[in-house]
């Protein structure tokens, strides 16, 4: 059996990649994809602990996360499309309405 630490390392690695992606990439689509990566990293952790502790609640929670991820993707893509229509750009640095 693969020890739990492997899963946790995989999850941590994926999550870190996702965070770095969100923080550094300039294309909104890529940022969204990075967010997906972070969620799935969390899912791996949940499943791993579920297996490790012999409880199903972790798996159930993972399904919830998948559902939320789907919804997030829908809303996020919707926002991206609306943004693109207005600004004609996918570069996140050109979207700076929150600036002082």
């Amino acid at each position: 059996m693969i020890p739990i630490a492997h899963y946790l390392f995989l999850g941590a690695a994926l999550f870190t990649i996702g965070v770095v992606g969100v923080l550094t990439r300039k294309n909104i689509m890529v940022i969204l994809m990075s967010i997906e990566l972070m969620m799935n990293a969390v899912n791996i952790n949940l499943i791993a602990f579920s297996r490790h502790l012999g409880q199903t609640s972790g798996q159930i929670f993972a399904i919830f996360v998948i559902v939320v991820a789907a919804a997030e993707a829908a809303v996020g893509l919707g926002i991206v499309i609306a943004m693109f229509r207005n600004k004609e750009t996918m570069n996140i640095n050109e979207i700076d309405l929150m600036k002082w």
Binding site: V19, V22, L23, T24, I92, N93, I95, D96, L97, M98, K99, W100
Partner: protein
């Protein structure tokens, strides 16, 4: 079916007709509008006839049927003048007794005939449906007036008929004269209504109720107990206040001026409202309040004198009028004067009897004149008529019957009722020879102006212009049949009330329970002076003879020798001019009241413009001036302070603002760092 308990439905049928025609009439075919309007009145007539028949089957002392639909107003109690606590309670209730049964049959019966007639007469007019909606609304109001069982119900109907009268006089509202006439009728009636309202309030304060039956009972008990005396000032006051109301509605001196002008309305309206029904409301109201009048003989004397003076005055104006409807209008005023003469001498039944017969023949005459006007294409001037008897024979014959009836030809309706009034004016304990004499003179004048009308319209040479002459035609059946029915009525209704020397006066007998004289304890019943039948016949013969003289004068002047009127009018120029100008009453009222009201209004307008407006404008101006100072303070001190605070915060916050870059990823980075710090704190303890 128990019609007696359904009398509350009678006014509702025309009300339904009003709603249907008023709301949908515009989109309905004309025939349907006519059927709805006339049908509603016909159903009302059937219900009324059924109820009256059932009432007549009851024993005489039970012939008073009250139907309370619901309690309408219940507004606490007051201490009445009697010392008792009285509740101001008004029921939505209807009363059928002999008096209201006579009225309801006349109103619905003649009303139905006039509705049928109107479908023919008004066919070509704009707003056909509007006319019938108003007419039905009038029927509703009139039936509420006569069937209501208390003064408030009566007042509602009273105002309702006034409103309908206004609407229908002003039916041709594009004509200024019609609008003015409508306004005049409304305003003059307001004066009378003030009297009526005062009278009603006084009745409640003094007798503690407004129910007809209750008030009558209270008075009867008060008289029997001796607490009410004859001629107490308060009774005279109430009776006179009510009579002021009656003079307004029933066109008596001094408030009669609106009725002749009301002829601006369509002719069926003149027949229904301004001859047969509405104007008799005053007579009905006085007859209804007869116990109060019995307590106030002085007020009755006033009623009688005003009545006979109005009869004389209006008849004198009627002698010289050339407009066919105006002659009839003055005749109506004059005949109403007769009715009040009867009421004033205590012959209430005779007054109501004349009301009924008059409704028949005056409605007939008005409708006949309408038929003439219809044939003449809206020409009302009798000087432009003549020789119409061959061209419109049915109208001619029926109008001739009406003329004979109103002139008092023995055997026709008008003879019996008028003769009864004249006889009572002479013989009753309140009567006087002078009253009889004036009444008899009026009978002669009536005969003169009516035959003058007949001769000028139907006989002699045709003075019609050629264009109109070619188109003269008899009216359609819908108009002539009601004329014939009314003509038959004008001949025969008189036989209900035969004088004593001829038979039984069923009519008076029927009304006896309502007009029962008050019994004063200890006082001998006032016996009318006893006269022999022969004397009574002699008096009747004299009044007929006077009428015949009137006829002969009209015959000579307008049938035989047509230049006589010109010579007579030339000889008595002043009087003639005064008569043509209606004794200058309108001018007098204009000078006394109308123009003074206008002056008052103008004065108030000026006061308004100068003083009130001046005060308002002054306030506004001073506000503006003082606001200038306040505004400086506001702009520089208050705003300055606010702006200073804002500017200070903005300047001071300059370095902090730079952290807000607007780049989403910067914020995300801060979040991540924050999370890392937090996680580090959890993992490795305190800083």
């Amino acid at each position: 079916m128990n019609f007696l308990d359904l009398i509350w439905l009678i006014p509702l049928f025309p009300a339904a007709g009003f709603v249907i025609n008023g709301l949908f009439g515009k989109r309905m075919p004309k025939a349907a509008v006519g059927v709805v309007a006339a049908g509603a009145v016909l159903i009302a007539f059937v219900f009324a006839a059924g109820a009256v028949f059932q009432l007549s089957q009851l024993p005489a002392e039970q012939r008073s049927h009250e139907v309370v639909v619901y309690e309408w107003i219940n507004a606490g109690s007051i201490t009445a003048a009697t010392g008792e606590t009285a509740r101001f309670q008004i029921n939505w209730a209807f009363l059928l007794d002999p008096l209201s049964s006579v009225m309801v049959l006349v109103v619905t019966g003649i009303g139905f005939l006039i509705h049928v007639y109107s479908t023919g007469y008004m066919w070509e007019e704009d707003g056909f449906y509007r006319f019938f909606a108003y007419l039905n609304l009038f029927m509703f109001s009139m039936l509420t007036l006569i069937l209501g069982s208390n003064y408030v119900m009566m007042f509602i109907g009273w105002e309702g008929v006034g409103l309908c009268s206004y609407l229908l006089i002003g039916y041709y509202f594009l004509k200024k004269s019609a609008g003015d006439a409508a306004k005049k009728a409304f305003v003059v009636n307001r004066v009378g209504d003030w009297g009526l309202a005062t009278g009603i309030l006084l009745i409640f304060v003094n007798f503690g109720s407004l129910d007809f039956l209750k008030v009558g009972e209270v008075i009867r008990e008060g008289v029997a107990a001796g607490t009410y005396q004859m001629s107490q000032p308060i009774f005279i006051g109430i009776a006179l206040a009510l009579f002021v109301g009656a003079t307004g509605k029933s066109a008596q001196i001094p408030l009669f001026t609106w009725l002749p002008d009301a002829m601006e309305g369509p002719t069926p309206v003149s027949a229904l409202i301004h001859a047969a029904t509405m104007v008799t409301a005053g007579v009905y109201m006085v007859a209804r309040s007869n116990w109060i009048y019995q307590l106030a003989p002085e007020a009755m004397a006033v009623v009688a004198i005003v009545g006979v003076m109005t009869a004389l005055f209006a008849a004198s104006i009627g002698l010289v009028q050339n407009d066919i409807k105006r002659v009839l209008a003055y005749s109506t005023v004059s005949q109403l004067g007769y009715m009040f003469l009867a009421l004033g001498v205590g012959a209430f039944a005779a007054g109501v009897f004349h009301l009924m017969t008059h409704a028949f023949f005056k409605a007939l005459l008005f409708l006949g004149s309408g038929s003439v006007i219809h044939a003449m294409h809206h020409e009302q001037d009798m000087r432009k008529m003549g020789a119409l008897s061959k061209k419109i024979p049915i109208t001619f014959v029926t109008m001739a019957i009406g003329t004979l009836a109103i002139a008092g030809t023995p055997g026709l309706a008008g003879f019996f009722s008028k003769d009864e009034i004249l006889w009572q004016a002479f013989s009753s304990s309140h009567g006087h020879f002078i009253l009889w004499l004036l009444g008899a003179i009026v009978a002669g004048m009536t005969s003169f102006y009516m035959f003058r009308l007949l001769f000028m319209t139907f006989f002699g040479e045709s003075r019609v212009d050629h264009h109109t002459a070619a188109h003269i035609h008899e009216s359609p059946k819908r108009m002539t049949v009601p004329l014939m029915v009314l003509a038959v009525g004008s001949i025969f209704v008189g036989y209900l009330g035969l004088p004593k020397w001829l038979g039984t006066n069923y009519f008076e007998h029927w009304l006896e329970p309502v007009f029962e004289p008050l019994k004063f304890p200890g006082a001998a019943v006032a016996e009318a002076a006893h006269h022999s039948h022969a004397f009574e016949i002699g008096m009747a013969a004299v009044s007929v003879a006077i009428a015949v003289i009137g006829f002969l004068i009209a015959f000579t002047a307008y049938y035989r020798k047509s230049d006589l009127p010109a010579r007579v009018s030339a000889q008595v120029g002043g009087v003639y001019t005064a008569l043509v100008n209606k004794w200058y009453v309108d001018e007098l009222y204009d000078a006394l009241f109308v123009n003074r009201s206008k002056d008052l209004g103008r004065g108030l307008w000026r006061f308004d413009g100068k003083v009130v407006d001046g005060a308002v404008n002054g306030t506004a101006l001073s506000t503006v001036k003082s606001a200038l100072g306040t505004s400086w303070w506001d702009r520089w001190i208050v705003d300055g302070l606010v702006r200073f605070v804002g500017g200070f915060v903005k300047t001071a916050s300059w370095p902090v603002r730079l952290s807000e870059t607007g780049y989403t990823q910067n914020y995300a980075l801060v979040m991540v760092l924050g999370v890392l710090v937090f996680v580090g704190y959890v993992l490795w303890g305190t800083f």
